[in-house]
Amino acid sequence: MRAFARHYLQQLLQLVQTRKLRLLLFLFLGSCALTGEIYRERVVRDLPVAVVDFDGSRTSRTLRLFLEATPELRLVEGGPSSLAEAEAQLVDGRLAGLVVLPASLSTDLKHGRKARVLVAVDMSNILVGRTTYRAIAKVVSTVAAGAELSYLGKTGVPKQRALAAVFPVSTDERLSFNPAGSYALYMAPSIAFFFLNLLLMVLAGLPFLPPAPAPAQMPLSPAGLAGRFAALWTAGMAAGLGLAYGLLPFDGLTNRSGAGLLALSLAAFIAADLLLALALQAVVPSKTLAFQASLLLGVLSLMLSGATFPVDAFPAPFQSLSSLLPFTAFSRGLRLFFNQPTSIAEMAPMFGQLAGQAALFAGAAAAAWAARQGFAALARRPA
């Protein structure tokens, strides 16, 4: 117990007193703050779009008006004078989309023919491209529905029935877990806690790397090692809670599920993450290589977690690797409890997964340590 307490305090002191670690903490906080600022606008809006209007009719003016009124889009004043100029503007990114209204637009409508408009979208950035396309498609289909409504009116369909005739099926869409469709809420907490994951992977190397007592020169007793990891866990908790209640609220990102659930989730995640690093240190023969492996896993963990690209789209071996990483379980849970009120019972699957991982890593570390002790005893035995 004394060894545990001594090493716990030593590790905490090292964290506070070492300049390098203070710089690390500064970088961690700076990266988190910067991420919040990057997504400050939350949604994509005012994307530059040009209209080339060869028709100049009332319908084409209505289309322009509707496009202008869409929050996601901004009609570029003047616009390109030719299609070649429009293409050049799409290449250099001055335009996100182009709508070409043909000269026959209104004539086709009046003569009962299908009118066609051309919608060209710069899809090189899929976020910008898809948002632009969705917004333009919505405007065109709304104007088309208006044209259909007026036709139905002329055929004698009563006004109150006309809408149902144009849109017989309507959808009432509700967004769960991120009602405003905010990219800040989607990305910023996941990335901020990914930085915490990186910080933990770096800190977990401290008990093994110089200038700390390297096991080769000064083997740490199990109690000493536990003391050092308990200190790192404490530091991780402080960083995680500071992140959730200090930094993220600056950008309007607040935890909606109460401090208890957040603290419990963090406690489980940090413990499992540190045990993963410990297991790597125990299993991989070289301490430096183990440290580098844990950092590589740490860097890959954001991609592997499914926070950006869903896990089911990965090749099968990566899906298995993903399920072994504590950050995957935590980030999945985070997207639930951070964005809407959730009870501890509802988060049971996440806690179960983290507990399973922690047990697996602790078991692997203990087995590797026992095997090493056994080999050392064999080596010491006289021939």
Binding site: L105, K114, M123, S124, V169, Y186, L198, P310, R335
Partner: protein, 410 residues
């Protein structure tokens, strides 16, 4: 000037000696460029997430509701994975992440439509991941749009309008979609090229800092009056490895995994330009690091923020003004913007000339900073030993010292 050139060669020689004795640097120079880009390429091999899991509750159970669900299931973006018996169970599926969309068709759905009223379908879509939300929601809206058109035609036909005419009268304005530069709009093609560029940036930063940090750890740093030239020499040795890594990425991994590049040579030139532009920053970091581990520990926190800052994924114009200004300090920003053009839009370097120009300016600015910091922080040789140290470092390499030049026959 001659002293600086001599120091450059001394740096090269010093790095050659260091690489021969400290094999761990090869982990960064050889293993990382092979392992990391390959892993990333494998991860996004599928390129696009399809068939988002959806649960449905069909309280109507009519021919029309079944048709709607059949069409929904047949769309590329949606896959019906279950039909829970209650809304509570359905929400549970959403919460556990086993489903990303819940569609509920009320019991009066078909009856309402037959009586000329709207049939309302309630939908809950998980927007915790905006990418998968976009896919699932698009799948549903396309299905409903098609069904509405079909029902609209039938409605008009029932009033005596010929089907051919009715088809033209229903949603009478159609749009021809032209997704330019990236017709598949796949996530993998979009994101991987940028990540690979960031990998090269990290390798440049880490390899030099790792090598110098290791030398400092072992008290093996060569004092110099011209540290910037000395470190540039060390970086030049690494440059050969960077070019090899870039060639591997552009000429092997790009075609192998099918990542988009209009002209591989232009992409190679851009990667190389970034590697060269990053060298002054790498020299700056190498001047400051205390040991080899610091390089990993500190630089880890740069890759993701610089990627996000560059405007590659989230538009730069949507960031606050001071963040935009900050972003333009780093070579990753013009390089990643040029990468998007060269991978998808245009083949010639002329289309990104302005961005290459910014890279050159950044290279000059970072060089000035690195020069000033290195002069201040790098250990200086003792005054009396300085000339001897300079000369001794060249024995057996390019001997450009004054005495050797004086000895040459005219």
């Amino acid at each position: 000037m001659r002293a600086r050139v001599q120091e450059l060669f001394a740096g090269m020689r010093d790095e050659g000696r260091s690489l021969a004795t400290r094999k761990g640097v090869f982990t960064v120079l050889l293993l990382l460029p092979v392992l990391y880009p390959t892993l990333v390429s494998l991860l996004y091999l599928q390129r696009e997430a399809v068939e988002r899991p959806t649960v449905v509750i069909d309280e109507d159970n009519s021919a029309l509701s079944r048709e709607l669900l059949l069409h929904l299931d047949a769309s590329q973006n949606v896959r019906v994975v279950g039909r829970p018996e209650s809304m509570d169970r359905a929400f549970e599926e959403l919460r556990l992440g086993r489903a990303e969309m819940l569609v509920r068709i009320p019991e009066d759905f078909s009856r309402s439509i037959k009586r000329g009223r709207q049939g309302k379908v309630a939908v809950w879509v998980s927007s915790a991941n905006m990418y998968t939300y976009g896919l699932a929601a698009l799948g549903l809206s396309n299905t409903v749009l098609d069904l509405n058109q079909e029902l609209g035609i039938e409605g008009l036909a029932s009033r005596g309008v010929a089907r051919r005419v009715a088809a033209r009268r229903v949603l009478p304005i159609a749009w021809d979609e032209r997704p330019l530069f990236h017709p598949t709009a796949s996530y993998g093609d979009f994101v991987v090229t940028g990540i690979l560029l960031v990998v090269i940036q990290q390798i440049v930063l880490m390899s030099l800092a790792h090598s110098v940090g290791w030398q400092r750890e072992e008290d093996d740093l060569r004092p110099s009056h011209h540290p910037f030239a000395h470190l540039s020499g060390k970086a030049l040795v690494h440059l050969g490895f960077y070019f090899a890594a870039i060639a591997l990425i552009v000429f092997v991994l790009f075609p192998w995994f099918g990542w988009p590049a209009k002209s591989p040579w232009a992409v190679f030139a851009l990667f190389s330009a970034l590697a060269v532009a990053m060298i002054p920053a790498a020299i700056l970091v190498a001047t400051l690091v205390k040991d080899r581990f610091v390089a990993f520990q500190i630089l880890l926190f740069f890759s993701v923020p610089l990627f996000l800052l560059s405007g590659f994924s989230w538009p730069l114009s949507h960031m606050p003004g001071y963040v935009q200004a900050f972003a333009w300090l780093f070579p990753a920003t013009p390089a990643l913007q040029a990468m998007r053009v060269l991978s998808m839009k245009a083949a010639g370097l002329s289309s990104v000339a302005h961005l290459i120009g910014i890279l050159v300016l950044q290279w000059a600015a970072w060089s000035a900073v690195a020069y000033a910091v290195a002069r201040r922080r790098w250990p200086k040789p003792p005054p009396e030993a300085a000339p001897a140290a300079d000369r001794s470092s060249f024995s057996g390499f390019f001997d450009l010292s004054r005495s050797s030049l004086e000895r040459r026959p005219s």
